[in-house]
Symmetry: C2
Subunit: 207 residues, 2 copies
């Protein structure tokens, strides 16, 4: 089992947090609004605790469950408090029309986090290709990318504890293309699929 | 049923062509090397014919089954011979290390084709996310993107005739992100999946 800290108290922290508690993980929640962190920890149950915003997280894996524009600033704000942690960026930096990314360059929030993360921290991109409602009701594949094999193994173990299949797509530069998969997923919801109750996953044809 | 012309006589033309003939479509093949076009038409059977390189294709749908670097030059070479056609770009412009795209900008081969295509031609990106071996043995989802609804409907009908599920991801600018899905697919083959007998598809969780 893993020890997880969520930075952020919104819907994604709640949804992944519920699965994390159900999977027997140790869960901590941090919010800039302490009362929201307290409330979410209580709602999650299973021994979930509320930490103090900006302090060293209790979890070895720190999930930045924030809107994309806040992720880099919050990692900067935490600074050395994240030293040695596995930082998991789950964000989708969509543009205003949701048909592309907000960055002009071939980068990703995860790569930008890696540039500002403290010594010994490793960054993994994960979960961004999965709509929250699907995480609530289904067992979608979870794609992830990162440069540190040990960090990726830790994230894979955590994903498995949620009853989901972790699928490694490669190094951290692939985070850009995972963000692109997020764009394609929204495009499918608005076009060929027509609803939000789906996820892209790996279909095997080994027969 | 659809009338299809393949420009190109390689493995993708052969694999899609076999399914196209099996699906009752009218198939024409064009190759710069006429003997290769003749041989492929004969191998496909089912009334498949060999056209003349550079002439007006018989098919309403023209699939450029070429290596990515040849697609735009060949469309330019065909010029007005492609007027009014639905041009389907299936290419993957991978970089040298297969972990990104060959373009520096946020574009795609399909978008570049649209810039040089003659009047009345419409461009659709499709099939690029599916490895050839999977098309030979399985029934993967086929994602497509384009700006012209009528052209996309024609491609969807063709894809269905192959026994495959067509999934519209949106406008032609999404071709860039479909090329990115190609990058992610190669990343999965080399990492989390570890083989090539799979495709990304839509898994629904509507229960």
């Amino acid at each position: 089992m893993s020890s997880i800290t969520f930075i952020g108290t919104g819907n994604m922290a709640r949804t992944i947090g519920e699965r994390a508690v159900a999977g027997g993980n140790t869960v901590e929640v941090m919010g800039r609004d302490q009362s929201k962190a307290d409330d979410l920890a209580e709602a999650l149950g299973g021994g979930a605790t509320a930490g103090t915003w900006g302090a060293v997280p209790a979890g070895d894996i720190v999930i930045t469950a924030l809107l994309y524009a806040s992720v880099v600033p919050v990692v900067v704000e935490y600074g050395d408090a994240l030293a040695g942690k596995v930082i998991v960026d789950i964000s989708n930096p969509f543009n205003a029309t949701f048909d592309g990314l907000a960055h002009d360059e071939e980068t990703s929030i995860a790569q930008e986090v890696a540039e500002v993360a403290p010594a010994g921290a490793s960054v993994v991109k994960a979960f961004n290709t999965v709509f929250r409602n699907v995480l609530e009701k289904g067992r979608p594949d979870v794609f992830f990318a990162g440069d540190d094999a040990q960090a990726k193994a830790a994230v894979a173990t955590f994903v498995e504890s949620l009853g989901l299949r972790p699928l490694d797509v490669g190094g951290l530069k692939m985070a850009h293309w995972l963000e692109g998969v997020g764009v394609v997923t929204v495009g499918l919801a608005g076009n060929g699929v027509g609803h939000w109750d789906f996820a892209l996953g790996v279909d095997e044809f080994t027969g």
